[in-house]
Structure formats: C-alpha cells, structure tokens
C-alpha cells in the first residue's frame, strides 16, 4: 500500500478488521509484526521515530476532560513548543469554522457527541504535519454538518497539499473525498484491495446522485460484501 | 503478666473489705503494684519478697506492672486502677496540690538519687560554677527549682544558669557535649552507664546544697485505698520489709532473682545492676527504724521547700501526704 504525497486515501472495512490498528501502526504507537513502513520512500524504522511527525485523530475523541475545548485544541502546539500568541486565535477561528463558536471555554463533558468529535478534529488540524490520519472523524455528525466538514477538509487539503488517510464506514463519504479507496479484508486471509476513484475534482455534494458516483458506490458495496464472504 | 483491668478494679472495691485475719486456707488477696519505671536493682526487695514467698505468707498475691510515664503510676493509683505505686516524695505533695488523693505509705529510697552531673573533666566543681553554663534537664519544673536552690545555696547567681530542656535524652545531651551539665539523671543508673560508656561524670548531691534531703522513691496508695485495704497494705509492708532484709543479707542472691526474672523478656546488665544495688542499699537503710519508715520532719521540709519555690499551692499539709501504717 503506497500513498503518494498530497493524496487523499480512504480505508474501509468491516468493524474490527484492524483499520484503527493500522492507523496506530502508521502513527508509530504500535510496532508492525511484518512488513515495513516507509515515509518519503525511506524506511522509518521503529514506530518511535514516527511519533510526533504525523497528525493522528483517534476514533474516541480523547479530549482531556480537565481542559477546556480551546486548551484541548492548542495542546499539540503546546507539546511541540510552538504555541505562540497567535495560536489561540487560530484555534478559536477553526472552532468557529466547525460551528463551535461560543464553546471555547466549555469542558468536553458539556458538549454533544458530534461537537466533541469536531473539537477533536480541530485539535488534529492544529497538529500540522504533512500526513494526517483520521479515524472515523465524522462518524457522529449529521449529514449537513458532515457536508460542511467535507467541504472544509477538501478546501484545506487542496490548499495545503497535505496527505490524508481516512477511515470511514460511510461509503458515499469515501467516494466523495478520496483519490483511492482501500478495502480491508475482515479475516487475516484476504488481501488489501484497491479502488481508484476517477471522479474529477473539485467535487461537490451534488455528485452524490450522478450515475458515475452511484455505480462506484454500489461497486464498493459489492466488493466489501465479497471480502466479507471470504 | 498482664491482667484485665477488671481484676484491679474489683480488688479495690469496698465489697472486698479487709478480712480480719487471713488464714492460709483463704484465697490470697490480690494487690497490684505499679513501678515508677522498669524493673531494676532498686526493686530487688519486691522480687525477693515475691520469689521467697513473703507475700504469699501474708496471704497476698502481688502483681507488678510498669507505667508508660512516671506520672501514670500516681494517676492510676488515685483512680483505683492499681492498689499501690512507686513514686517520688515531692511528686506526692505536688499530686495533692492537684487534688490527686494519694498518700505515701513508706519511704523506699530515703535520699535523693537525682544528682547534678558534670563531665569528670569539667571545670564545674560546685553549683556556683554553673553560671553561664547550659544545663540539660528533662522538662520537669522540679529540677529547675533544685538547680536554682543549689546555685543559690552555693553563693552563685541562679539567674545566670541557662536551662536546656533535653526531653528524654539526658545521656546523649552530656556525652555529645550539647550541655555542660545534666539534672535528672540517677546516680544508680545514668551515672554508672556513662561511666561504662567511657564518659565518666561527677555527681553533686542536691541535699548538700540547700535542697531538702527528700526520699527519691516512696510507696504510694490512694486515700480511699488506705481507708478500705489498710490491713492488706500492712501485710504488704511487712512482706516488703522481709524482702529488703533478704536483699541486705544476700545481695547477690537477690540480684540473681531480679536478673532471672528479667531474663525472660529484657535482660538487664548484670554489672550495672550490681553496682547500682551497692549504691542503693545504704540509701534505703532506715537505721533503727523499720525499712520504709517515714520521718515527718522530712515531709515538712520538702513541703516548705516546694511552697517556697512556687511548686505547691498553699494549704497542702505535709501530714496529709503520708502515713506510717
């Protein structure tokens, strides 16, 4: 599995098939039992070398409960020693973008599930780094909010040329956002399948109902169904 | 050798009022005695009386206990939790001053054992030399008064003496040079130990410098106890005298009894105790009077001296503080 710089890839697969684990391995939290992981073409060695260089958004939001939303969002820069006077303003601005204006000083437990997820998403963006690993970042959002997030993410991605790896169960989302989609097999036997999304960019929500889109989605569903039946 | 408090309480209850003559067939009368400190040579007469059967002969069953703190013995005898206790003569008067109803029944050690001690190589030879020196003492106001009296009697200025409360640690205080002298150590214990550890000290007898020649150790009972158990106490005194006679005649055997008794739990230092007994025996001797006899004149003097030094409120009669049964 190779991900090119600036590419947007999605990973889909059955629940419990190891998607989150794969992301953790890439982030450097776990060591792989076989194979190796190359960053910019060179073997990155052990996971510890990759820690701190890859922005990672875990499946559970993991907002620190004793910090306000804003303080949670500036945490990555605090850790990296890059927090400056502008950091908080930047975080505030991003929080506004995701619809959390007014909640900067709230504690995580005062937010709804989807709001926590968005806060965690902002925290991940604040992280910087060329590669972003997002583990079901929009799973708890309604279609509208999700759409806003998609738009914003695509915009950011287009501007910054960051590389994104994205886990989702929403096949439309996968098709809409990705350059390529990887299908993870459920058992240990199957092989990783790859699917190219040939849709033109920039993409919009309207595409959802275009025939190309619908057929891609159906194809994806069929293939997923097959990997499972194996 | 511990007993539930119930026994002690019951034995001093009025229902157990003395029976005129205790025939050997009767069950022994129980008496509890609390020592002033842990068992040592000064208590040889008690263990001798115990071991030689003098108590049993009097129909007594004596149980010996140890206090947590020297003042506990007085308080517990007054509270009726023990029948008899060992304490110090001035302490008995001071206890009466605090409305603690106790009386001395017998004088065990008839002279002060608490001497002022200075290192053998010290420049202090008599109390007046203490001016400007540090004196360690164990937070007992009585000792302050003794030192001041001594210095004054010797023609020195008591206000120039510097008192340092050294808590429990008299020996380290002097042996490590923290103080120039100590007050509160016994000639039959600390002095001997310091000698043995290579820190010899000279002792200065307070009785020679204006302090009344008080009894260091007295046997004490409560007013109520004396009222209800007079006969048993009389028997105890008789057995005690027999015990002391035995100690005087067979000091080595008496010591062996004590040491054997203590070996079971906390062995004593044989040399120290032997020397201690040698020091003690003359000081316990009542001359032509029976062992334990109390001289009213001594009580008057101590009472007067305590009053003069502000350690005793007015209205405490020396005569109330002791009784010769």
């Amino acid at each position: 599995m190779t991900v090119r710089k600036g590419e947007f890839v999605s990973i889909v697969g059955a629940s419990g098939c190891g998607k989150s684990t794969l992301l953790k391995v890439i982030a450097g939290l776990l060591e792989q039992s076989a194979g190796d992981i190359r960053l910019r073409g060179t073997d990155s060695g052990s996971g510890a070398n990759r820690l701190g260089h890859i922005a990672y958004m875990p499946q559970q939001d993991l907002l620190l409960p004793w910090r306000t939303v804003l303080d949670n969002c500036v945490l990555p820069l605090e850790i990296k020693g890059r927090a400056s006077s502008g950091t908080k303003a930047e975080a505030r601005d991003m929080l506004k973008r995701v619809g959390l204006a007014g909640y900067e000083l709230a504690y995580p437990h005062e937010l709804s599930g989807g709001m926590r997820q968005r806060a965690a998403f902002v925290r991940t963006l604040m992280n910087g780094g060329e590669l972003m690993l997002l583990d079901e970042p929009f799973g708890a959002l309604d279609a509208m909010t999700k759409r806003d997030m998609h738009r914003w993410l695509l915009e950011l991605w287009g501007n910054l040329k960051r590389t994104v790896m994205f886990i989702t169960h929403d096949l439309e989302e996968a098709v809409l956002l990705s350059d390529r989609i990887f299908l993870m097999p459920a058992g240990s036997g199957g092989a990783l399948q790859e699917m190219n999304v040939g849709l033109p960019r920039p993409r919009s929500m309207q595409m959802n109902f275009e025939p190309g889109f619908v057929s891609l989605r159906a194809e994806l569903e069929r293939r997923l169904y097959e990997t499972r039946a194996v | 050798g511990s007993s539930p408090s119930g026994d002690a309480a019951a034995s001093s209850a009025p229902s157990q009022a003395p029976i005129a003559s205790a025939s050997p067939a009767e069950p022994a009368h129980k008496l509890t005695l609390m020592l002033d400190w842990y068992p040592n040579a000064v208590h040889s007469f008690l263990y001798a009386a115990q071991e030689q059967g003098y108590f049993a002969k009097q129909g007594l069953d004596v149980e010996i206990q140890m206090p947590a703190d020297t003042n506990d013995a007085l308080k517990l005898v007054a509270a009726g939790k023990v029948d008899l206790a060992l304490s110090y003569q001035p302490q008995v008067l001071m206890a009466r001053g605090e409305k603690i109803p106790v009386k001395a029944l017998a004088a065990i050690v008839r002279h002060p054992l608490t001497h002022l001690m200075v290192p053998a190589d010290s420049s202090i030879h008599s109390p007046k030399d203490l001016a400007g020196k540090n004196i360690g003492y164990s937070s007992i106001p009585l000792y302050e008064a003794m030192v001041k009296t001594m210095v004054k009697a010797d023609g020195g200025d008591p206000d120039k003496v510097n008192f340092v409360d050294v808590g429990y640690d008299l020996i380290p205080a002097i042996s490590t040079g923290q103080t120039d002298a100590i007050m509160g150590a016994f000639i039959n214990h600390e002095q001997l130990i310091l000698q043995k550890e290579g820190h010899p000290v000279n002792s200065i007898d307070p009785a020679k410098y204006g302090v009344p020649d008080y009894s260091e150790l007295v046997l004490v009972a409560s007013d109520e106890g004396i009222g209800t158990r007079k006969d048993d106490f009389g028997k105890f005194l008789a057995a005690m005298q027999e015990g002391q006679a035995y100690v005087q005649e067979h000091p080595d055997d008496a010591l062996a009894i004590l040491l054997k008794h203590e070996d079971a739990t906390a062995p004593l230092d044989k040399d120290i105790e032997a020397q201690s007994l040698k020091v003690l025996l003359p000081l316990m001797d009542a001359g032509d009077k029976p062992f334990g006899y109390q001289d009213p004149a001594s009580w008057d003097k101590v009472q007067q001296w305590l009053s003069d030094n502000g350690l005793l409120p007015a209205g405490i009669e020396a005569g109330d503080a002791f009784v010769n049964l």
């Binding site: 004793w66 | 605090e98 106001p141 640690d169 490590t176």
Partner: protein, 257 residues
Amino acid sequence: MKRAPFNELIHRSGAFLLLLLPVLAIWEAAVRLELVPSFILPAPSSIWTALVRNAGLLLGTHLPATLEEVAIGCMMSVAGGILLGIGMHLSRTLEKALYPLIIISQTIPLIALSPIFIMWFGYSLWSKVAVVFLTAFFPVVVGVYDGLGKSRGAYQELLLTMGASRRQLLLKIGVPLALPSFFSGLKLTVVYCVIGATIGEWLGGTRGLGYYSRRMAGSLHSAEMFAAIALLSALGIALFLTVRLLEHQILKKRGTY
C-alpha cells in the same frame, strides 16, 4: 449549590460545633459525676478555663513557636514528598532503593532516633523540623507515587503521537490525573505535621505547645496539658480544612470525567 469559601467554612464548622455539644456535655457530666477522675481526663470546662487563664502564654509564646515548626516542617514534607514520589515514579532503581528505606523510616520509633537528631541538629528549630518531616512526609510520597502510576490510558498514546516527551506526558496527563491522589496524601500529611511538631518538642527545647503540654504533664497539671492539646487539635483541623478547600477549588474547576 454555590457558596463562598468562607461561608462554606462557617457552615461546616457550625454544624460540627452543634454536634460537638452533646459530646462535651456527656464528657463534662462524666467528670462531674466522678466517673472519670479529673486528673486523668479533665472536664471540658476546666480545660477551657485553663485555656483562658493561660491564653497569653499559649497564644503569645507557644503557639507561634509550634506554628513555625509546623509551617517549615510541612513545607519540607510536601516538597520532599513530591520530589521523592516523582523520583520514584521516574526511576525504578530509585524506587527499589528508596521505598524500603522510607518504610524503615516510618517503623523506627522517633524516640530511638532522637539522640541522633540532637547530635546533628542540636536543640535548634531544625531538630523539630526533622521530626515533623519524618512524621509527615510519607503520605505525600505514596499519594504522588500512586497518583502518577495511574493508567493514563489512551490519552498517553494521543500525546505520544503529538511527539510528547516523558516530561510532557508527566506534566500534561500524569499530574492532572495524580492530583486527587496527591490531595488525599496531603490531607494526611498536614495533620501528621501537628503531631510531628509535638513529638519534636518533646525531644528538647524551650517553647511550643508540645513542650508546654509535656511540662504541664510533668507537674500533673492535666487541664493545662489538655488546653495545649486542644490548641494543637484546632491547628490540625484548620490545616486539614485549608487543604480540603484548596482541593475543592482546584478539582472543582476542572471538568468531570
């Protein structure tokens, strides 16, 4: 729900005092009826009288001396306890070497060590501070060590992906998670500081409530002795409540988990 800290204190202690009354009444009655001899346990009224009669001496001379020892000893216990706790958390070797020594220090009766203190510190303030330290530092050590040893769960992983160093993990997750445990230890420590100062003063000295109480015990003045002890208890309660207030303030501000 919301009350100013000071009102809160009044409210709490008010309720306590109300509940204390029957205890004091029974105690007073027991002494008056001579169920307990007053020279063993004096009546509350006579303790109060002794307190008032000696107020100048107790509050003017002895309380400040004890307060000084408690203050310095307490700060050293807390600082030392935190350092030891963190040190043992960071290094397994240090932990293995120190924990047994710390426990040994807690099982040696201080009286046995008093000559050593006197030898090293003389009869200065520092011998008392040393006793306070030895009496009181242990709960903070355990509180800090156990608190830092808590599982940091997935938060730790998240911070690792941000490139956090061990120091940062400790500061950003370890410390916030350890705070409740630290405060439990701190509450014990401040109370033990008071008894530590009392014992320290017994080892020698010329001032302080412990010294006074022992002196009064020596001359059989029970009421005066208990008056000093009552002040010591009040000091202990005040310290405890202060820490508790601090704990509430700090932990309350944070979101719940």
